[in-house]
Symmetry: C2
Subunit: 157 residues, 2 copies
Amino acid sequence: MEKQEDFRACSVARTLRVLGDKWLFLILREAFFGVKNYDDFQAKLGIATNVLSGRLKTLVENGVLKREQDPADGRKVTYRLTEKGVDLYPIVLALMRWGDRWLADESGPPLILHHKPCGERLEPVTCCKACGGEVLAQDIRYEEAGGKPRGPDGRGT
Amino acid sequence: MEKQEDFRACSVARTLRVLGDKWLFLILREAFFGVKNYDDFQAKLGIATNVLSGRLKTLVENGVLKREQDPADGRKVTYRLTEKGVDLYPIVLALMRWGDRWLADESGPPLILHHKPCGERLEPVTCCKACGGEVLAQDIRYEEAGGKPRGPDGRGT
DNA sequence: GAAATTAGCTTGCAATCAGCAAGTTATTTT
DNA sequence: AAAATAACTTGCTGATTGCAAGCTAATTTC
């Protein structure tokens, strides 16, 4: 039980309690590509049906997707991203970006993204909202909410 | 086997073949906080030791961490991020950001990040490298590498 | 309007994986 | 030489996955 304490203390860990599974990310990816129905998720991902229904359930329970019955066809169910779900987009982009950069084969990235406002091909970068500069790992200083800064050895001072 | 085809076709999926597990993300988080040794990972995460050794092995095999023996003390091993590993930082930041925004309790985020170059508290945003604008999900157009654009229904046209 | 089809699941089962405790090996330190 | 430390490995039990099959309710076809 004590380790849960530490597990909960970080927002990365909290997010992973909602999203900490390969299939959850992939379902999410498909949702961003516009997939909405059970069978489409299944066909696109090749996921086992019991696992899919379980994962969809937890995503709905966690407020990432909303489940709606089609009024025109009572069999059909649509799963759509909530605002909370849409806000996961930077995570999906970051995953895709890294795969493009480090795991692409000779044919280049399998999917190309364009940024409609400027018309250019999208290369996502993580920036500081305050100054607009690109964020590099070595430029970040950590401070625990209690007030004590976290040393470079990862423990408290 | 055929579903692997589709699984491989997307860089998100490719990344998740390297990183598709809760523990891998958490080990990574600790690595960014400066943790380097086996026992420190274990203590910080409360992960089972067999699982930890397996995960560290796959991270090393995938070139995300490098394993080095301490020349001064032959018992000690350090795991350090490679360049490929450091480049995973935007993913960790994106996970943390979402958790801060959607899963924080009344006490606010448990860890605060500061951007040293500007001195301000870091709020990471995903931007378009070309135009510098913030990236919103609805502003992105998808195009499969083959050349055929991907429709809003998530399939090919 | 009965039979077939479709959408979205649930159930059962073998195999894999996680978590726990204990043990192992190779160094240091005392 | 004995004790401690770092980094693992092994054995066991119980949970989770993937696969195939079956189920149920709504809709389409004949």
